[in-house]
Symmetry: C2
Subunit: 198 residues, 2 copies
DNA sequence: TGACTTCTACCTACTAGTAAGTAATAATCG
DNA sequence: CGATTATTACTTACTAGTAGGTAGAAGTCA
């Protein structure tokens, strides 16, 4: 009884994939174990075997999302030097999410923040903190190299960047309008002296 | 049998007040008729008497919120001439919401968009459209008078402004940090050549 | 074999929503 | 005017359905 799934096996991954899609489209309070089970053609009990409680599922959802995101940021750092390019690649990450008709998982959860179990709240803040740290360092480095215009605190500007991107996704989704998101992202970049294309 | 409540009587207003608070804090999928009934010390059936279905309640919630907001904008127009001041007053509207530990009702509903009944979706877009129209006209007029810096399309900038404000609220709430919202709002104003204080 | 995974079958709590009834108030009318 | 009739604003008691969650049997496979 102690063992359970370690969350790395194929079944757990498929459940996380399905739950992630549902959470990004409908929110944490907008889907149920029954929804996941139906999409995967298994029983609810089987889903509970891998993720005993919804709080467990939610925490693992955020953790995996965070890891994937961190991996993408690491890849940007490993393949791109120009800070303006890094910012463009960062925005492309968000673009891909909304292009797949999804909201950022953590932006979605942020809306439901006060209804979430505490471990999810902690994991959520960690995600935003990591984004802020990465962006702030890119901004700071860009200011040093003169490739990015940052007049104020890099940290505060990093936060504001996350805010615009999350907000633009949120509203654009209500209009089913990807262009709306892209326009906001373009503005945000322009303020940093960065064009959409290099 | 046709009559029911007209939604203008004291009971309806109290229900809307309570539902609004719950919706702004927990989302439309995050509260139930039982929650409202409990807070008002009445029965669920009594709430259903005034708002037969949750979709009805949701639509009326957005309609009232929209009206109140439109009234606030009309008051700004009636009492302030300087466009920079108008923008500061606009942001103060958001500030007051988050200061009361709430998310913008429509920002919250935007997150849950795909789970909402269609009439709510329509009402939601109307709210954002009205914001955009008002802001765009202030921006355009500010550009003309030279009191606001708007380099690009006033309409697109208006959208972006709504996006930042909604996103900043969303994320700031996860940190319970009003200052975080204010910082983002300050940045947004600064980009328009508008200071926080006149 | 035994660990792992999934199933059947179930539970309790809660969801939105309804049916039927009841005080109190307001409207109508002989 | 008083008697009747509606209407308003609820109530109690209930529905069907769904939520998250569990015990234990059955199947799967190295």
């Amino acid at each position: 009884m102690k063992s359970r799934s370690n969350g790395q096996n194929p079944s757990s991954q498929r459940i996380l994939d399905t739950a992630e899609q549902l959470a990004q489209r409908r929110g944490f309070n907008g889907f149920s174990y029954a929804d996941i089970a139906e999409q995967l053609a298994v029983t609810k009990a089987s889903v509970h075997y891998h993720f005993p409680s919804k709080a467990d599922l939610g925490v693992r959802l955020i953790a995996r999302y965070h890891e994937t995101f961190a991996g993408a940021l690491a890849k940007i750092d490993a393949t791109v030097d120009d800070e303006a390019d890094k910012l463009r690649r960062y925005i492309a990450l968000y673009d891909e999410v909304i292009a797949h008709d999804r909201m950022c998982l953590c932006g979605m959860f942020a809306a439901e923040y006060s209804t979430l179990p505490e471990p999810m709240q902690v994991a959520l803040r960690a995600f935003f903190d990591a984004n802020e740290v990465w962006l702030a360092s890119v901004l700071e480095s860009g200011r040093q190299s003169g490739r990015v215009i940052v007049r104020e605190s890099a940290r505060a500007r990093a936060r504001m960047l996350v805010d615009v991107l999350e907000g633009a996704m949120l509203v654009a989704r209500a209009y089913g309008d990807l262009a709306r998101f892209r326009s906001a992202a373009e503005f945000a970049l322009a303020e940093l002296g960065v064009g959409v294309r290099a």
